[in-house]
């Protein structure tokens, strides 16, 4: 009894976290290249709406995802153009796009509010699904969940194990040095910002076509900000970022269980919890709080634990690169 409940929870956490994982991977790639795509919340909203709208009108989920991808990529392209080519403040452009994306989604999405539409089909994998426990958690999902897990590994492999990944990191850490080695810094930044944006678009459609079906005003509100915070918590490392996203999912679903077992606590506590958690998580990884915690460890362990917990952004994050 207990174990089946646990399996059910873990399997739903895995499913519900997949959009967050995909969006955070996209943002990790962009920020690794030195560009902050702050528009995540608006991008996810607009792509969730467009993905659902296209899938609803055509009856084809794949077309929905393609549309969402294009929307996400387009938003990222605006950020890339404004920051890389025009040297405008990434935060300013990103913030304005966040609002613009949300307003556009609300305006254009009105005809699709609360309509039943297509969804990503449930796709258990034959044979593997029958493995006890593991099969029940991992292999009775839809294709998005499988894709999100594969994506984590691919992004990690790309960033840390390939030549292209080395250049990607170079562009975000030491653009001058990368440039001197013949890397076209700004072109790569464009590329990875747009690729990251396309992933964010997929994440948006993953909400409206799988995790939180359909469209309504403010359908995905707040999730983009949480994804951005998770990238920081994850120290721009795909595995840690993914861990952060799943941890977040576990904590939220624990909250849901708590809510049912302790009826006295107001529901609003659980609605605000993700955002309180977001602040606490950032408080934990940044500066003061972490150092104080580390001083509690014995000196010999302090360095090992510190290295594992401390995070630093790519050195050239949000800094435009200008050739002389």
């Amino acid at each position: 009894m207990e174990i089946t409940l646990l399996i059910r929870i873990l399997s739903s956490v895995l499913a519900n976290s997949s959009p967050l994982v995909i969006a955070a991977m996209g943002e990790t790639i962009s920020e690794r290249a030195g560009v902050i795509n702050l528009s995540l919340d608006g991008s996810i909203m607009l792509s969730a709406m467009s993905g659902f709208a296209v899938a609803y009108l055509t009856g084809n989920v794949v077309l929905g995802f393609l549309a969402a991808m294009m929307v996400g990529a387009l938003m990222a392209l605006v950020i890339a153009f404004a920051s890389i080519t025009l040297h405008q403040d990434q935060v300013a452009v990103g913030f304005v796009l966040t609002l613009l994306g949300a307003e556009l989604a609300n305006f254009l999405g009105e005809p699709f509010v609360r309509r039943p539409g297509p969804r990503v089909p449930y796709m258990p994998i034959p044979l593997l699904r029958d493995i006890p426990v593991v099969g029940e958690i991992f292999f009775r999902q839809d294709i998005l969940v499988y894709a999100s897990i594969v994506l984590i590994v691919v992004v990690w492999f790309w960033i840390f194990k390939t030549q292209a990944g080395l250049r990607l990191r170079g562009v975000g850490e030491r653009p001058e040095a990368a440039f001197a080695r013949g890397v076209s810094v700004n072109r790569l930044r464009y590329l990875y910002t747009v690729v990251g944006g396309a992933l964010v678009g997929i994440a948006g459609a993953a909400y409206s076509l799988s995790v939180k079906l359909g469209w309504s005003e403010g359908h995905t509100l707040g999730n983009g900000w949480i994804a951005l915070a998770i990238v920081i918590f994850g120290g721009w490392h795909p595995f840690r970022v993914a861990f952060g996203a799943y941890l977040f999912g576990v904590l939220i679903s624990l909250g849901g269980i708590l809510q049912r077992s302790i009826p006295g606590v107001p529901t609003q506590v659980f609605q605000a919890a993700p955002f309180a958690l977001m602040i606490l998580v950032l408080l934990f990884v940044s500066g003061g709080a972490l150092e104080r915690l580390l001083s509690l460890f014995p000196p010999r362990m302090r360095r090992v634990v510190g290295d594992a917990l401390r995070v630093a952004p790519p050195s050239a994050l949000a800094r435009p690169f200008v050739t002389e």
Partner: protein
């Protein structure tokens, strides 16, 4: 300046407006609505009668108050996205005062304003403290606190402040008459709130322009490290700018509950906090610019209400136009410097 240079400047000045209109026209076409008719309703909805113009001023007041406050934090180089939450904590404190102190209006209203300022300032200070002492970027601190403030207010309205009749989520009971700001006859506009917003703009203008503190804040915004090395107490200045911005946002909250609605409702802040960031950005971070820009945004908002009435279009078109305009301004400013560089080089 030659004639052609002037022409180029004029075109560059008008380009953002044209770009934003292009975007919203495309959006209207995509939504299957006739654009010209929509713009006509937008204009008329904001200007056809004295009551509509008064409504525009009703929206202008909180926008101007919040944008004035944002000038402090923007001057210090901070992205105070938490205005929405600061408005709400102003509302919460003012609501408490209105419900619990049984005083005549002459005492109650000033106390509500002071209470609202304290509430907003505390919520702003919380974001500032997280930033200064916790190393949490103010964007995340402010945004998280916004969501927390909104849910706190919803809980207060649903539980302790629930109306006696029926437990709906419509809001609290109306405040006692003494807690209402006096209104102009037949209009929703209160002269007190107009006065408050105008005063705020004037005071912010002089503080940022004519005081040492304003100058030091500017130094921090330009380069926090050098300012610190020059002996400016950066942390204290940053915290104070958060508190001042929060206080003005709190006043905006008081105006909303006691001047516009006369009670506390869940959607009391209605996105004004986010909109005021756009206003401040578009004003070029100057108090003199805030007044007209806020008026423009207020007119958009009021005009858009009519789109829904007459054409069944979502009023978020106003937001599309507003955000589109700010985006276009950023893009055109970038293009302009790029053009200048390529011409010199």
């Amino acid at each position: 300046m030659t004639y052609s240079q002037r022409l180029v400047n004029l075109l560059l000045g008008l380009a953002p407006v044209a770009l934003a209109l292009m975007l919203s026209t495309l959006v209207l076409i995509a939504a299957g609505a006739p654009p010209l008719e929509a713009y006509k309703h937008l204009l008329q909805g904001a200007s056809e009668s004295p009551a509509k113009i008064a409504d525009v001023l009703v929206v202008w007041v909180p926008l101007a108050l919040c944008s004035a406050g944002l000038l402090f934090t923007f001057t210090a180089g901070l992205w105070n996205i938490g205005v929405e939450g600061q408005i709400i904590f102003g509302v919460i404190f003012a609501t408490w005062v209105a419900r619990n102190l049984y005083l005549p209006a002459t005492l109650l209203i000033p106390l509500m304003i002071v209470g609202g300022m304290i509430g907003g300032a505390l919520w702003g200070l919380l974001a500032g403290t997280l930033k200064v002492y916790g190393g949490v970027h103010e964007i995340f601190a402010g945004l998280g606190l916004n969501f927390i403030a909104i849910t706190t207010n919803i809980w207060l309205i649903a539980k302790p402040w629930r109306p006696d009749l029926g437990a709906t989520m419509q809001g609290t009971d109306p405040f006692p008459a003494a807690a209402w700001l006096p209104r102009l006859a037949g209009l929703r506009l209160s002269p007190v709130s107009l006065l408050l917003a105008t005063m705020a703009l004037v005071v912010v203008f002089f503080i940022l322009r004519g005081t040492l503190w304003g100058l030091q804040l500017k130094a921090i915004g330009k380069n926090a490290r050098s300012a610190y090395l020059l002996g400016i107490a950066t942390n204290r200045h940053v915290l104070l700018s958060f508190a001042l911005c929060g206080a003005l946002a709190g006043v905006a909250g008081v105006v909303q509950v006691s001047g516009v609605w006369g009670r506390n409702i869940p959607q009391i802040s209605g996105g004004i906090g986010y909109l005021s960031l756009l206003v401040a950005m578009l004003s070029g971070f100057r108090a003199l610019g805030v007044a007209p820009v806020a008026l423009f945004f207020a007119a958009l908002g009021v005009g858009a209400a009519r789109l829904h009435l007459r054409m069944q279009l979502d009023p978020s078109l106003a937001g599309v136009l507003g955000a589109g305009l700010v985006l276009s301004v950023l893009l055109v400013a970038g293009l302009r410097t790029r053009l200048l560089i390529s011409r010199e080089g």
